[in-house]
Symmetry: C3
Subunit: 140 residues, 3 copies
């Protein structure tokens, strides 16, 4: 019989960059005791996002963060929206370029992530933030 | 008992830019009478897309649109595909950089959108268009 | 009664560019005999990704690939991560800018793809690769 489970995990980022959340996400999935299903990961913010990226060499994450800083520079002349600081509008754009939600199938009790795939919360603001990530699992 | 519901909403865009669709999407979801589930929003086009963005300051949407116009310029020298006008290939690329589909969990009768998150249809063509957006809800 | 089905399709890419996979994906979906549901397509790699794009003019795919090569150049001075070749870090970034997963509703026995929408596996490495794509279908 198909069923659902959901929770909200809160992570504390330490400023811009990628924070791996694969462990706590996978632990919660396993604790639901389903064999097959679909996991949705959803971030409830507009200046942080989600990516699945290489989990081996930490340089991949710093290169990725550096690329997005170059692509969407923190230049006040480029944006009208300035109320929340010069790093806010670039954060919204970097969020639009990546993902607010991710879906990962669960098969035989395991998320089907490839060997080198990790789930990352991508903080786009300069300051540390608390970020709510909703997990929703549907299956049996 | 888990069940499904689906519909297609048609929106008329007024040319390039972001059109908020949170209201009609949330209204349809509430009308299905489910407590928990997973909503999928899917746009059936290749020159319009979907984003979840800040819903407070309208400057965020104009800054976002302006960024994508700079990043993917409407320059005929850059693209071989010209048949449908010089704004068509940039529209396909902007679509690939954002999303064709979004997933939002439903918990306790409400979509888990954060306070500042709105759902937007992102028109990438210069002219007004009719755009079909499929909503699919699975839950109970 | 809602149920699930899943499989893994393996595709051989011939180097960087877009490979259409709509046919084999749709064939598998039809073979599951469901009327309504939600299809998830998930690529188990960090240097290949998924996009839904125009399926008519092949120039759209070459223009898209060319855009991503310009946006994320293969320049060793830009990236610290070099271990797996100069095309590896650009591949990770192009993957983050597109999608690891896609969701497409199934209604009345057909995926709701628009007339011009095709599903593409986007290879970001220069060499040919074998790529695993997981399909997961939930519905009835």
């Amino acid at each position: 019989m198909m069923r659902q489970a959901a929770t909200t995990l809160t992570f504390r980022t330490s400023g811009a960059g990628l924070l791996e959340i694969t462990g706590p996400v996978a632990d919660w999935v396993v604790a639901q005791g389903m064999r097959d299903g679909l996991l949705t990961v959803f971030v409830r913010h507009t200046s942080a996002s989600l990516v699945i990226q290489e989990n081996a060499d930490p340089a991949v994450r710093s290169d990725l963060d550096a690329f997005f800083r170059r692509l969407v520079p923190e230049d006040p002349h480029l944006y009208r929206h300035q109320d929340e600081g010069s790093d806010d509008m670039p954060a919204h754009i970097r969020s639009a370029l990546t993902n607010v939600d991710l879906q990962i199938p669960l098969l035989d009790g395991r998320l089907v992530l490839g060997t080198w795939q990790g789930i990352y919360l991508f903080e786009h603001r300069r300051a540390a933030h608390r970020r709510d990530v909703v997990l929703h699992l549907m299956g049996e």
